[in-house]
Symmetry: C2
Subunit: 123 residues, 2 copies
């Protein structure tokens, strides 16, 4: 919500490389806050893994076992955090993962001292 493309100042520097600025910490924590609930983690996963990478509310309400307003509420939080996008088609609202949003968080959390997971392509 800070910038149109969602790429703000804390875009590339791992958390562990240098002390993060207060502003960047606030912005980062807003995204983690969206992931700080088991239901929202499940919703994000359900949407991402759904056919075509998108899902409507009716597709995911029953799996999580909560009321429809509660699911809408959680989806709104994920959208406002910039993790999900919403597209209305007719009566249905389709949600999908914003490209690069999770990758951004993944990069920030990457530990520069651990040389395991990210160097798969060496040689």
């Amino acid at each position: 919500m800070a910038t149109p493309n969602g790429q703000d100042a804390s875009c590339c520097i791992p958390l562990t490389a240098a002390p993060i600025t207060p502003d960047d910490a606030t912005e980062l924590s807003r995204k983690f806050k969206a992931l700080a609930d088991p239901t929202r983690v499940r919703l994000l996963s359900l949407v991402a893994a759904h056919e075509g990478g998108e899902a409507c509310v009716c597709d995911i309400t029953e799996p999580v076992g909560l009321s429809q307003p509660t699911v809408s509420h959680h989806l709104k939080i994920l959208v406002e955090a910039g993790l999900l996008g919403r597209e209305q088609r007719g009566t249905w609202a389709f949600y999908s993962v914003v490209p690069g949003a999770l990758g951004h968080l993944s990069d920030v959390l990457r530990d520069p001292t651990a040389r395991d997971a990210q160097n798969l392509v060496t040689t």
Copy 2:
């Protein structure tokens, strides 16, 4: 807290690859909850970027501008989430990032469909 080494069931599968189980979602969200506060993000970053990769409470209380009990409270939450470790040496308590803890989260958030950040070495 679930297992000694902190590597639980949600260890390697990206969130977006398949629907996460409710238990894994709960476990994951507990770690994100620890990062869902700007102060804790800053503390984690300050500890990681501090000389030797460790810091005592007195090193990081003044930078965040909060009372010492509040800082201790946040550090405890980060420890209980398995992100920080604590070692007492004399009067001082030294905190350091648990090796692999952030990398684990980074892997879970990695988007398998986005071939940008991790494949910089192509061509």
